[in-house]
Amino acid sequence: MSSILPTVYNVRKRHHVYHELTVWSRGIIMDKEARDVSSCVAAAARALGLYADNVSDYIDDPDRTNCLVRRYARFGDSPIVDRFVYENPHPDWVVLVEETIIKAVNFLRGTPDRGGVVVVNSVRDPQYLLKFLPDEMKAKIAKFVVVDAVGLAEQRGKSPWMFVRNLSELALDRMSTEGAEERLAIGLGIAAPLIGALTAATGVLPLDAVADQVADRDALLRGAQQHTVVDFTASAGTPTDGSAPDGSAAGPVPVTHAAPTG
């Protein structure tokens, strides 16, 4: 079987780069934002010479308003062979485009222990959001990133959310949501700071390379600079051990800091 694989497979295998990004959002009204996040990450990886996929989900009914939908991207230094399985079985990067999703599902199923980077679009305190996660979900998180993407995006009208701004535009956007060509530039609005925070917090892809794929470069950089990280790996002694080695408090005590990583 190996004869049908491209030769580059063997060349790049030594790096062992492979990430799965799952973006959670809501049907129609917030679909464009989620799509842009996965598209830009996949495009940036591909531009860097990596293998990348960017898949939309059909089961999740993206044409139903408010229904939970996901967009997937995955990239690595080796070809992605399992092309017909489009759900990410082991997402290690998770983006929640809207904060309520934190209560809705187990978005960390399949994520390796202490291996997940979760980016949430919210103005709330990270500890308030973490309160809703059970211990088994927290055990999978390496970094919990909260970014006020609505505040950092380009402000238009009442809100940078597309569905707040213009319902007729959203009706046309619905066509691209269901597979038609994109009407608007990719990486606009709320998606840009989300991509920035994700790129900065994961540190895998160079920020410049990602920014090249995004329409609103400034908002991306704002997101990359202004977000809050709760680092679970910093305070926990080992990735699987939740006890705090500094003895400041019992149980897993995440360290909160504003991360001006650029």
């Binding site: 399985v85 082991h90 309520t100 809705a104 187990n106 199923r109 308030y128």
Partner: protein, 631 residues
């Protein structure tokens, strides 16, 4: 919904995959919770209807109208009695701030709340046994002193009794009732109704009324203060004097004094041409009583213009029907008298000039003086109270001064007209209720807190599309000609049972759930649960509600609100989708590996079967030979 690809959680697993417990079983009834993925959660939160907010006694008007709708008159009566001890009185004489505030006025016409209240009050009076009495707590041994048996004093005594306190009421006149008897004419409030309401209160046990005891002369300030607590509700029964020439002539009386004599059933002389000086409700009542007693004419002479009169609209209309004449923007200059008896008056044009500080002062127009003939003049330009018996620092220009709780000093409280100046019966009833609550607090050494904040439901918050337009049923009136003949004929008549129910049916239940079932019906996700058809007895199944907000949109009363889901901070009430969205879990990926394995096993079996020796009639002995795969 297809269950293919669904990962069945342990509590649902049965021997046959995909067959789930039937809904008759407990586990079958909690299939596929859709969890907390909504933006907003619908929440039942009752607001205060504007009628309830406007009523000084805080009557739960929406609630008793709802009872009347459903023919539950006793429940309705008991609901009123929680706040107002005398619905038969207020149902006749109240100036109904509730109807003025009613949201229905923006829809079509306000609801005839007062008439429904009167209906319920009379229903309660007609009962042979007082339904309030059995529910009262036993007396706790403390007796509170109350000065004045007007509405404020009676309400205070009643609400104290509901809290277990006895009270003794000191009344200066020889009959109880205060202004209800000595200020309100019988054609407004029949004497037998007032007597019955007072008898109802004294029949509760623990309320003693001592008539003929005037505070200051018959009982001193120090004696009053010696009680554990005291409520001063003296009212204002001294009419203001008008400093004009001839005012001392016979035939010139205070309107208040006139009404008191009539109310107490004493003989009164009234002329056939009466001038009533003043532009308020007392002037109107006096003029209308004078017409009934003297059989002549009455003219209301007021500084106010016709549209500025302080007479309640319906009284004004009734007064006109009965033939009361009006002389607006007019002032009395002097009284003309012969042999010490009034024969006429000199009037002139005047107007009320507004000062910068908001007060008003009469401004006469020189050269417009004219003489009119009359044989009686009544002065109704305001009232005060004689308070010289009180320490000086406690009274100010005819009213007793108090803090925002109505507290004079120590355990002495004040309410009614003697605190707020001339005002409505229902204001006094509300003061009595508040005073009883506050007296209870000070006697058990609790802090007097501020009044709780209320959120009043505006008309804009209702779903007006649900309410069809229905005209108000006006209370029937006695014909004007008949009214003019007697002091005893009641002007406003009662609703019939059908009218009361129809009028109560118009209530829109502003901001308060009245169990209309609309949310229950419209919910597309069967997430609204109803235990009993009773006010507010719905619950939202938050494990299934998807936050579509159809219930909030369609709630006629506006008691359902949307609250951001993230504002609910209890981690314990988070339910995550498990089964219905199992494809989210990467189940497809897992299944593909499983399917791959199945195929490989099948191929292996097939190969094994092919390799076995054939043609000798023997079958293979592989363990999976019966798995359905045949060579």
């Amino acid at each position: 919904m297809s269950v293919r690809g669904t990962r069945i959680p342990p509590h649902l697993q049965l021997p046959i995959a995909g067959v789930t417990p039937p809904p008759t079983e407990k586990e079958g009834q909690r299939l596929f919770p859709t969890g907390n993925f909504r933006f907003f959660r619908p929440v039942y939160r009752d607001k205060t209807p504007p009628c309830n907010n406007a009523c000084p006694t805080g009557e739960q008007i929406q609630k008793y109208l709802d009872y009347v709708k459903h023919d539950r008159y006793l429940d309705g009566y008991l609901t009123i009695m929680q706040d107002n001890p005398m619905p038969s009185v207020t149902g006749r004489v109240c100036y109904h701030p509730c109807e003025t505030a009613c949201n229905r006025a923006e829809h079509d016409e306000p609801i005839g709340i007062r008439s429904v209240e009167r209906f319920l009050g009379d229903y309660g009076l007609a009962l042979t046994d007082d339904p309030v009495k059995p529910a009262l707590p036993p007396l706790n041994g403390t007796t509170v002193a109350i000065v004045g048996s007007g509405p404020a004093g009676l309400a205070c005594a009643y609400h104290l009794r509901r809290r277990g306190y006895a009270s003794v009421i000191f009344e200066a006149l020889d009959k109880p009732g205060g202004m209800l008897r000595a200020g309100i004419p019988h054609w407004h409030l029949p004497e037998e109704i007032l007597d019955a309401e007072i008898a109802k209160l004294t029949g509760l046990g623990g309320i003693e009324i001592r008539c003929g005891v005037r505070a200051g002369s018959d009982i001193s300030w120090d004696e009053l203060r010696a009680y554990p607590a005291t409520f001063l509700a003296l009212g204002q029964d001294v009419g203001r004097r008008l400093p004009v020439e001839g005012i001392e002539s016979r035939g010139v009386t205070g309107a208040l004094e006139f009404l008191r004599e009539v109310g107490l059933g004493r003989p009164v002389q009234v002329g056939r041409q009466v001038l009533v000086i003043g532009g308020g409700n007392t002037a109107s009542d006096a003029a209308r009583s004078a017409i009934r007693l003297g059989g002549g004419e009455a003219t209301i002479v007021s500084l106010e213009a016709e549209d500025e009169l302080l007479i309640v609209a319906e009284d004004l209309e009734q007064a006109r029907e009965e033939g009361v004449a009006f002389s607006p923007t007019t002032s009395l200059v002097r009284v003309l008298a012969e042999d010490g008896h009034v024969t006429g008056a000199v009037l002139c044009d005047a107007r009320l000039a507004k000062e910068a500080d908001g007060s008003v002062r009469p401004e006469m127009v020189p050269g417009t003086e004219r003489e009119v003939a009359c044989d009686s003049i009544m002065i109704a330009i305001g009232q005060v109270q004689q308070l010289a018996w009180l320490p000086d620092h406690l009274s100010d220009r005819g009213v007793i001064t108090a803090d925002q709780h109505g507290r004079v000093e120590g355990n002495v409280f004040v309410g009614g007209d003697v605190m707020r100046g001339p005002s409505m019966v229902v204001d006094a009833l509300g003061d009595g209720k508040r005073a009883a609550r506050d007296i209870d607090r000070v006697l058990i050494a609790e802090e007097l807190g501020p009044e709780p904040e209320v959120e009043v439901m505006p008309y804009a918050g209702l779903n007006a599309a649900y309410f069809r337009h229905a005209p108000r049923i006006d209370a029937p009136l006695t014909p004007a000609a008949e009214r003019r003949r007697s002091q005893q004929v009641e002007v406003t008549l009662a609703y019939s049972r059908e009218q009361a129910a129809a009028e109560a049916d118009r209530c829109m239940s502003c901001g308060v759930c009245n169990g209309c079932d609309n949310c229950y019906i419209v919910c597309p996700d069967v997430s609204v649960m109803r235990d009993a058809r009773e006010n507010g007895a719905y619950t939202i199944r938050t494990t299934y509600c998807k936050g579509c907000l159809v219930c909030v949109q369609e709630c006629p009363t506006g008691c359902l609100e949307k609250v951001p889901e993230m504002d609910f901070d209890d981690p314990g009430d988070v339910t995550r989708m498990e089964t219905a969205f199992a494809p989210y879990d990467g189940a497809h990926a897992e299944q593909s590996a499983f399917t791959k394995q199945l195929i490989e096993e099948t191929i292996a079996e097939y190969d094994a079967a092919r390799k076995a020796p054939a043609g000798n009639g023997k079958t293979t002995s592989t363990p999976n030979a019966d798995s359905g795969v045949r060579p």
